[in-house]
């Protein structure tokens, strides 16, 4: 569960948050990734007031409260502060009215002053909260950046994922994570993959042990996160399976309800998996730029056949 304390620890400094009152309330849970400017609520209209939202007091709210008598401020602020409200942030480093400070202290509701302007704070906080609330999944596999594309390599244990990853790193591509990849769905259905803090940039290679790629190959060979573009599943070559030989059909795989291009890549001695992975990445980049090798070839062929049908030679 995401708590106010987590938000402060992760983003407190860049947002310029300074705790004014309600320290005991830092363990309050943030239930929805939403922020709210109370505006109408202060004017005594509290019907359908969203109690779970984090409240932001901007210039207008503060100016409005200043025009009220002390008694009235108490009366107007009280209904807004629910036990479910995670926190209150006053923007532009305004000094919060002392009635608000008292109420927050009494109710153990964290009250902050933030250094940003109201709109910027609103935007940033919404962004951070939606990121924290984004659906995520952990999966088994290696995530690498190959020619700028995020390639997730999956496959059964022992099929050679880590070895393929090591080969790619050696060729100048970058490792995001080996073995465990945390995938999060961000805005616009983009899937962002990253490693787990503890094992980040470490690899376990059978017969060698645990190695630190960032130390071995240099910081240029690693990066923290990347958006996923392709999923490749390595599989031990199965003679009875008919593998894709044309590439006209674009297969996809569902991750967190997003569709990603998917390739099943059979592995056997003599097949240079590293080179094949590079080729998949490059071919995919070509497709993104609008050139589909297989389709282009197929069209050319159909034209050739059609010309023959007309009875003309060549």
């Amino acid at each position: 569960m995401y708590k106010v304390a987590d938000l402060v620890a992760e983003h407190g400094e860049p947002l310029g948050l300074e705790l004014v009152a309600g320290k005991e309330g830092l363990k309050r849970k943030i239930l929805v990734p939403e922020v709210h400017r109370p505006g109408l609520g202060l004017a005594n209209f509290t019907k359908s007031h969203a109690v779970k939202r984090l409240l932001i007091f901007g210039k207008v709210e503060i100016e409005y409260l200043r025009d009220l008598t002390s008694e009235e401020r108490f009366y107007r602020l009280k209904p807004l502060l629910s036990p479910k409200t995670p926190a209150i942030v006053v923007a532009r480093r305004y000094r919060p009215p002392k009635e608000l400070v008292t109420l927050c202290e009494e109710n153990h509701l964290p009250l902050f002053r933030g250094s940003m302007t109201t709109m910027k704070l609103l935007k940033k906080l919404t962004g951070h909260l939606s990121e924290a609330f984004a659906p995520s999944v952990s999966c088994h596999g290696s995530l690498l950046e190959v020619f700028g594309m995020g390639v997730l390599i999956q496959g059964a244990s022992g099929v050679g994922k880590s070895e393929a990853a090591l080969g790619l790193i050696e060729r100048g591509h970058r490792l995001i994570s080996d073995d465990i990849v945390k995938i999060k769905r961000g805005e616009g259905n983009v899937l962002e993959g990253r490693g787990v803090e503890l094992t980040r940039h470490h690899m376990e290679i059978r017969g060698i042990g645990i190695i630190n790629v960032a130390n071995l190959y240099g910081i240029v060979c690693v990066r923290e996160k990347i958006n996923l573009d392709i999923v490749v599943k390595l599989e031990v070559w199965d003679d009875t399976h008919f593998y894709d030989r044309v590439g006209l059909e674009d297969k996809t795989i569902d991750i967190l309800d997003s569709k990603l291009p998917f390739h099943l890549l059979p592995v056997k001695p003599g097949r240079d998996v590293v080179l094949l992975l590079e080729t998949i990445a490059l071919n995919h980049r070509l497709k993104q730029m609008g050139y589909h090798s297989a389709k282009e070839f197929s069209n050319k062929l159909l034209k050739t056949i059609a010309r023959k049908k007309d009875g003309k030679k060549r």
Partner: protein
């Protein structure tokens, strides 16, 4: 070792589907042949190619109503020709 080991069978087949022998039918031929051991060659207008390679088959660019000759060599040549004729007779699953 029976005498079937090195038997060579030949059959003429006609491509009946509208677009000729394009990528999809070629894939189906290769897919069908994968499980057999026989060496299979396809020839069209004096060009003969390996039927287990998609690009080879496509090189022929056989149009609709083109007649090809399939040569199968090996112990399972009979089954190979039977399956292939079924594929051709079925228009490779395309509309008749």
């Amino acid at each position: 070792m029976g005498k079937k080991d090195n038997q060579v069978l030949e059959k003429k087949l006609r491509v009946k589907n509208a677009c000729g022998l394009h990528t999809r039918p070629a894939t189906m031929i290769v897919q069908c042949l994968q499980k057999w051991q026989a060496e299979v060659a396809v020839s069209y207008k004096k060009k003969s190619v390996d039927a287990k390679s998609i690009l080879n088959l496509l090189l022929l660019a056989v149009p609709k109503n083109g007649e090809i000759t399939v040569t199968a060599k090996g112990v399972d040549a009979e089954q190979v020709l039977l399956e292939l004729s079924n594929l051709f007779a079925d228009y490779f699953g395309e509309k008749k």
